[in-house]
């Protein structure tokens, strides 16, 4: 009984992961990250990778909403901030345990998205971008106004770490594994959603909303669904983020935070879900390690460099990093399949072409 089940799981694993080169590559990268701590890196580097995991979730959630549904939001930091401040406030004022605070703030984020989305999603295109861009600014104003609750400019701090029972040296390791597994779970959840039947409807809204309505689709409902799923994962990332830094402050709601998923998604390939995850990783490592320790450059320059690269990528390489890699892998497999089928004429043709 168990053996049959295991065999079936194994064949399904072979068919759905190993046989598809891009997925195999993703699995290998995940395994590399899983064994990475054996190199015994510094605590600061482990923290950096944990933050990279969270920003990857954040970027992938933006991609579901924008790359797959076409709801061009420029204020995704709102949900990151709601996650951060929500979790912090639940812990500081109501004494929630860390896990309950993270889970409930993610749910709060999704509910807020429903409440905000209903009026906001009536506008379309560039107007939606402008409306969503205003939302984190409004939230910033609210944070400064209610100084007693939110801590104003100083922010909220002094809440326990995620794994307070572990010795100091192992806490970073535990947090790294927690965020990595969270990224794995959220990444698969987002990818599955994007490629499910609901995901097909999301793409139909992106392509042509009028035609989607003519197919009998309640586009408002699907747009709200996409918006709140995206908000759920962004809020989740924000709630864990403040635990890693032990502080919730106004930087969660800045324009820079809103631009982080945008940069990652455009580098990685919009609408792929896995592209932004990879790009967010690279972005965080370049931002916090390469440009900080290897080639130290002043922090203000980082954003300028990234945005210039974004402009270059948009102009010359619009399909992004992930699609470039998968195209290369597809070319390889195509050759392999031709070899298996065995028409040698094709091989000659390929060589001639090269």
């Amino acid at each position: 009984m168990v053996a049959t089940y295991l065999r079936r799981a194994y064949t399904s694993f072979l068919a759905h992961v190993v046989d598809i080169p891009p997925r195999l590559l993703a699995l290998l990268l995940f395994l590399i990250l899983l064994v990475f701590p054996v190199t015994n890196p510094k605590f600061s580097f482990m923290l950096l990778l944990s933050l990279a995991n969270l920003s990857a979730i954040f970027s992938a959630s933006w991609d579901l909403q924008v790359g797959r549904t076409g709801l061009m939001s420029l204020g995704h930091a709102l949900f990151f901030g709601i996650g951060g401040y929500g979790a912090a406030m639940l812990i500081v004022f109501w004494g929630f345990p860390a896990w309950a605070a993270i889970a409930s703030s993610a749910l709060i984020g999704a509910l807020v998205a429903l409440a905000i989305g209903y009026p906001c999603l009536r506008v379309k295109g560039p107007y939606l971008s402008l409306v969503t861009m205003a939302l984190p600014l409004i939230a910033t104003g609210v944070v400064f106004y209610f100084k007693d609750v939110t801590g104003g400019e100083r922010g909220l701090f002094g809440f326990p770490r995620l794994f307070p029972f572990l010795p100091y040296a192992q806490q970073f390791l535990a947090e790294y594994y927690f965020t990595l597994l969270l990224l794995f779970a959220c990444g698969i959840a987002l990818y599955k959603t994007a490629n499910s039947g609901t995901g097909i409807v999301f793409i139909s809204i992106l392509d042509d909303e009028v035609a989607s309505k003519a197919c009998g689709i309640n586009t408002t409902r699907y747009k709200l669904t996409s918006f709140s799923i995206s908000a759920f994962f962004a809020t989740l990332a924000g709630a864990v983020w403040v635990h890693l830094l032990s502080a919730a402050n106004i930087s969660l709601l800045t324009l820079t935070t809103s631009f982080l998923p945008i940069i990652a998604t455009i580098w990685g390939g919009i609408g792929t879900i896995y592209g932004p995850i990879a790009a967010a990783y690279i972005l965080q490592i370049v931002d916090r390690y390469v440009l900080n320790e290897v080639f130290p450059i002043e922090t203000h320059w980082h954003m300028i460099i990234f945005l210039v690269v974004v402009i270059i990528v948009i102009i010359f390489w619009g399909r992004g990093l992930a699609r470039f890699v998968t195209d290369k892998l597809d070319d390889l497999t195509e050759e392999r399949n031709l070899d298996e089928r065995g028409p040698h004429i094709w091989k000659k043709y390929k060589k001639k072409k090269a």
Partner: protein, 255 residues
């Protein structure tokens, strides 16, 4: 006799348009139009460019709201319902300019329709949405292109895809907006046969066709309605319309 029945509400047309009017600024796009479609009837709407045929479709399918008048479907007024609800009670339409979902493969374009409440309800017992979508593509002859992204598909095939997408919800009234527009004679012939087959498959379905290619249209329809400057100027069988003086004047000009 008919009037007496009408007063008592005994006869019920499938789709009934009454005194429908729509103005765009000073222009009267649809001017006090009334007509009806019965079960199993194939109706052709013809008229010169700008006669208000597409506006009429947009009014029936809920994309724009009329200034006055009613559209009744099975005796119920459907004015004011949003477009997706109108599809879900059984009126599906196609577009004059093709509107495919360009990122999706052809079969997924049809699956979108099957994700709507009505489309989902109409999937036969023990059938997957994919199987049902494939059947729909078979009806219009697109099975070979099913995995091709819609952006790579030619215009003639996209016209057929539009029809497959509308048919997937199994509508009681099918509104076809220039189904033969931009097709070559071979494709026109093929699509004409598919429409006839669709009509035979579901004999109670009403079909309304807006078309300029009269030679194709006249062979399919049983009733023709002629529009000119938003107003209905003639109604009758294809033979009657071909002899109608007013219609000849509109199309050919006065002697």
């Amino acid at each position: 006799m008919e009037e007496i029945q009408k007063e008592e509400g005994l006869t019920m047309h499938l789709l009934e348009v009454e005194n429908l009017t729509k103005r765009f600024g000073g222009l009267v796009a649809v001017d006090n139009v009334s007509f009806h479609v019965d079960e199993g009837e194939v109706v052709g709407l013809i008229g010169p460019n700008g006669a208000g045929k597409t506006t009429l479709f947009n009014l029936i399918s809920g994309f724009i709201k009329p200034d006055s008048g009613t559209v009744k479907f099975k005796g119920k007024n459907i004015i004011g319902l949003p477009p997706h609800k109108i599809v879900n009670i059984g009126i599906a339409r196609t577009f004059q300019v093709v509107r495919p979902f360009r990122h999706l493969p052809v079969i997924a374009n049809v699956i979108v329709s099957l994700k709507s409440p009505r489309g989902n309800r109409k999937i036969e017992w023990l059938k997957t949405p994919e199987r049902k979508a494939l059947d729909m593509l078979e009806d219009v002859g697109l099975t070979e292109l099913m995995l091709e992204p819609a952006e790579n598909v030619g215009h003639g095939d996209l016209k057929r895809l539009e029809m497959a997408r509308a048919l997937a919800t199994e509508p009681d009234v099918l509104l076809l907006d220039e189904p033969f527009g931009g097709l070559n004679p071979l494709e026109t012939d093929f699509l004409m046969k598919s429409i006839q087959r669709v009509h035979l498959d579901e004999p109670t379905r009403g079909i309304v066709i807006v078309e300029h290619k009269l030679y194709a249209l006249m062979r399919i329809v049983k009733k023709v309605i002629v529009f000119h400057f938003g107003a209905k100027i003639a109604e009758g069988t294809p033979e009657e319309i071909a002899k109608n003086k007013k219609v000849i004047e509109v199309y050919m000009g006065k002697e």
